[in-house]
């Protein structure tokens, strides 16, 4: 015996769970995905004649669980957005996603953090040098330690002096932009491994 209401509930529950799992994607993308998957389920159901609960369970099983399908969309979509974005945040999110999937992604994630941090330190150093010229500098200590910022070591030398202002203010943002460009470029080669859906 078929239970149309129960069957409908099951389909809705499946789609609802898929929607939840797709959470990170833009809403219009999510509704497009749900529309397509819904069509798939309905069409499989129609082809099976009378739709029983057991039959529906089999259809959904063949489709794969929402938890299996959703990451396949997400991994790809996040990286795809990062590839075409100029925002360090979006790019780093894509790289971060990649880093959870491959060792190359992880290496790039670390390089990305280093690039952005150095760029930000340069820019900040250049800016602060204007207001606190004696404390802020590009210091080289006696053990050849290089450090931009506030100096605590009396033996250290400020190697850039006032040059830190133009170097920091131009070099910092330039380094940040270069990091973005390089990370985006490497993302073109990101082969996102899809979790097993067997």
């Amino acid at each position: 015996m078929s239970h149309p209401e129960k069957v409908q509930q099951k389909i809705d529950a499946y789609l609802m769970q898929l929607r939840r799992s797709l959470g990170e994607l833009p809403p219009d993308e999510v509704s497009e995905i749900l529309k397509e998957i819904r069509g798939h389920i309905l069409e499989r159901a129609e082809a099976s004649g009378e739709l029983t609960e057991e039959r529906l369970v089999a259809i959904l099983k063949a489709l794969g669980s929402p938890d299996q399908i959703a990451p396949l969309y997400q991994a790809d979509a996040l990286v795809a957005r990062a590839r075409s974005s100029l925002s360090p945040r979006v790019v780093m999110r894509g790289i971060h996603r990649w880093s959870s999937l491959s060792a190359w992604g992880f290496v790039l994630f670390v390089l990305g953090v280093a690039g952005y941090a150095t760029g930000a330190a340069l820019a900040l150093g250049g800016l602060l040098k204007i207001f606190a010229p004696s404390q802020i500098g590009a210091w080289v200590g006696p053990h050849a330690v290089f450090d931009i910022g506030v100096n605590n070591d009396p033996a250290a030398r400020d190697v850039l002096g006032w040059w830190l202002v133009p170097v920091g203010l131009v070099g910092g943002p330039a380094l940040i932009m270069a990091t973005t460009r390089v990370l985006r470029w490497t993302l073109r080669f990101a082969r996102i491994r899809r979790p097993t859906t067997a």
Binding site: I33, K35, E36, I37, R38, G39, H40, L42, E43, R44, E46, A62, L63, G64, Q68, I69, L72, Y73, D76, A77, A80, S100, L101, S102, A103, W104, F106, R193, R194, P195, T196, T197, A198
Partner: protein
């Protein structure tokens, strides 16, 4: 290189090989005509055992579209719900042709390498 964090223990070499071919067989299924998702799935079922889970196909179609290899359009059907049809773009046709040629040569070479294994097994 360190092991991939994303792989699960159940992921064996066979799964990997199957996944690698999905792009090609999807593009190949669209070579002659426009198809919607379930059409493609039915075709793959009939001609290969590559598809492990039907839902896998839809994210791949999305990626191929983002890469500009295929295009899509919703079409109303008498089934009562719209279907999303896919077809190859010119660059998709070029990619499919290149992949097909590559595959042919690839297998011809591999064939001669694995032949001794199979010959020995048959004996």
């Amino acid at each position: 290189m360190a092991p991939n964090v994303g792989s699960t223990p159940s992921e064996n070499w066979e799964t990997q090989i199957r996944k690698g071919w999905l792009d090609l067989v999807i593009l190949a299924s669209l070579w002659k005509e426009k198809l919607y998702g379930l059409d493609i799935i039915r075709r793959l079922e009939a001609h290969s055992d590559l598809l492990l889970s039907e839902g896998t196909i839809y994210p791949i179609l999305g990626r191929l579209k983002r890469d500009g290899l295929i295009e899509s359009e919703w079409v109303e059907s008498d089934a009562g719900h719209p279907r999303k049809y896919y077809w190859l773009t010119p660059s998709g046709r070029r990619r499919a042709a290149a992949m097909a040629r590559y595959t042919k040569t690839f297998f011809a070479r591999i064939d001669s390498l694995i032949e001794p294994i199979l010959a020995k097994e048959e004996r």
